[in-house]
Symmetry: C2
């Protein structure tokens, strides 16, 4: 009996701590998924041998109904797209100028495609998530850092040397608070985890009745602030109002510069949802020109933690379509 095999692509999100990977189907669904420690300090040869082994296991586990058409991988660093090479990554000590495409293709039997993880998360949301139906999109991930990826004219926008997309380190207050990056007044200094922790300490001086005072100031997390906000704590609500406003200024700048259609917001801090989104939209409305505001919508991400994995598979799909 001649059964038609279903096309599938491997998507892999290679982080500093974990490797998330899976078999993704043409409609964007993840058929099988696995998580491993990434063990970056052991060096790339060790990591790629391990990846090759687990990839074969994954394909085996999927069974004979699938034919793997390609392998996409996202890495949190500067990628030389032409050479499919990781130039450097701050969380990958010792990994300099690693030809990821070449190294993985040596170990596996299919075409491997590499890009920056934030770009691929944007691509995932664009193809199968909250960015469907538009061609001009910014994906912002609010976490410890503020990551971002740009889709322009329906494709990842890399810039001249694949270093585009640093929305988190665009400056909205040139004499503003210090950012983890050393600059002053970056978007991240207002809406990233550390910026939030800095600001809540300041606010608690003025608002001694906040229930957040029960927590040691250095240990207050965005989740704590969210929980307090849900209980109606005014300080927590004010914090998210400010975070949303600052995000809105940064997004207003991008809206005016690029006339985008959609901003997709993900990452842990985005779980505060409308507490952030509402003031962000209101500020965006004030800052963006009329047409630029009318064009843009600000929505939560759909794919959650899997955006990078699905996006990596999307990259592999795009490449395999060319052959």
């Amino acid at each position: 009996m001649n059964v038609q095999k279903q096309a599938a692509w491997i998507g892999m999100d290679l982080g500093g701590t974990n490797i998330k990977f899976g078999l993704v189907l043409a409609n964007g669904t993840i058929h099988l998924q696995k998580k491993l420690d990434s063990e970056i300090p052991f060096g790339y040869k060790y990591v790629f041998d391990k990846i090759a082994g687990y990839t074969r296991e994954l394909i085996h586990a999927a069974g004979s109904d699938f034919v793997v058409k390609g392998f996409g991988i996202g890495v949190p660093g500067l990628i030389d797209i032409k050479n499919q090479m990781l130039v450097e990554a701050s969380n990958f000590p010792g990994w300099k100028n690693v030809k990821i495409g070449y190294e993985l293709e040596k170990r596996l039997d299919f075409k491997v495609s590499v890009d920056n993880d934030a770009n691929l998360a944007a691509l995932g949301e664009y193809k199968f998530g909250a960015g469907r139906g538009v061609t001009e999109m910014l994906m912002v991930t609010l976490g410890s850092g503020v990551g971002s990826g740009l889709i322009l004219n329906g494709a990842i926008y890399h810039g001249s040397r694949s270093a585009a997309g640093e929305f988190g380190h665009t400056i909205i207050q040139k004499d503003g608070p210090l950012c983890a990056c050393g600059r002053r007044g970056c978007v991240e200094a207002f809406v990233g985890k550390y910026g939030i922790q800095r600001r809540i300490k300041e606010l608690l001086v003025d608002y001694p009745r906040s229930i957040l005072r029960e927590i040691e100031p250095h240990n207050i997390t965005p989740e704590d602030i969210y929980n307090a906000a849900v209980k109606g704590d005014k300080t927590a609500l004010l914090l998210f109002q400010e975070v949303g406003e600052s995000l809105g200024v940064g997004l207003g700048n991008v809206a005016n510069l690029l006339n985008l259609e959609r901003v997709v917001i993900g990452g842990g801090i985005s779980n505060a949802g409308e507490l952030i989104f509402k003031p962000a939209r209101e500020t965006l409305a004030q800052i963006a020109f009329k047409t630029n505001f009318e064009t843009i919508t600000l929505v939560p991400a759909h794919l959650g933690e899997n955006a990078g994995l699905v996006g990596s598979a999307c990259l592999a799909m795009q490449i395999s379509e060319k052959f």
Copy 2:
């Protein structure tokens, strides 16, 4: 005798005050050039009839050695590219939803192409000026306002509804000085003509010995400040230092977001040259990430007042290449 005619394109910069137009050759040189009053308040029918007449005169004056292959026109407003229509323009009262392409093609015998004037100035510099040889470029025009146009992947970047390119109204200090647009802390509020005039008044309070004190504060122009700076006036030098630094913050943001290769700076205020460019580059070096800074160069415009005219002809060239 069968003489090969030379291809030429009409480029036109339709401003609120003047119409600049000319016959542009394939190498970007302007063969013939003319300037008229634009007389916008007389309405678009009057203006287009006039344009058609003067265009025929121009072609006649050029003689029979040229064959006109197309007509490009730039307008300082929001353009609906698909319909080649001017949606609105703040300096063109009464001109709403004017189908410029259609109206001019009715009156002339060649294909007409329309775009925003700042986009076309960028295209002109990109093809035949200071942007040659790169594919990712921002053109900034420093004047009363701060205009800009983006070239990404070697083409004008329009964004979703052709409203991209408002670099002048990206915010670098969210609680900063009021901009003419009503926002606070826009790049234009620091580096545009009115921002400069506001700031020099402030500085003169602290620097009573400046030679600029001889001029009535409201009448001080950027040219006056430049002339004082050339004479070594410390207040004037400080002003340009600040202007350059603010410009550098704005450009650092764009460098980090888009990883551009070149920024081309034109407009009257850019005549201050290195007085602005040097602090701008120094600030850019501090703000842009290493790769983003290494990629980018900041240079003066080459085409001066003719960038829009040449760029309009470039647009016509691109369109005629398609047919």
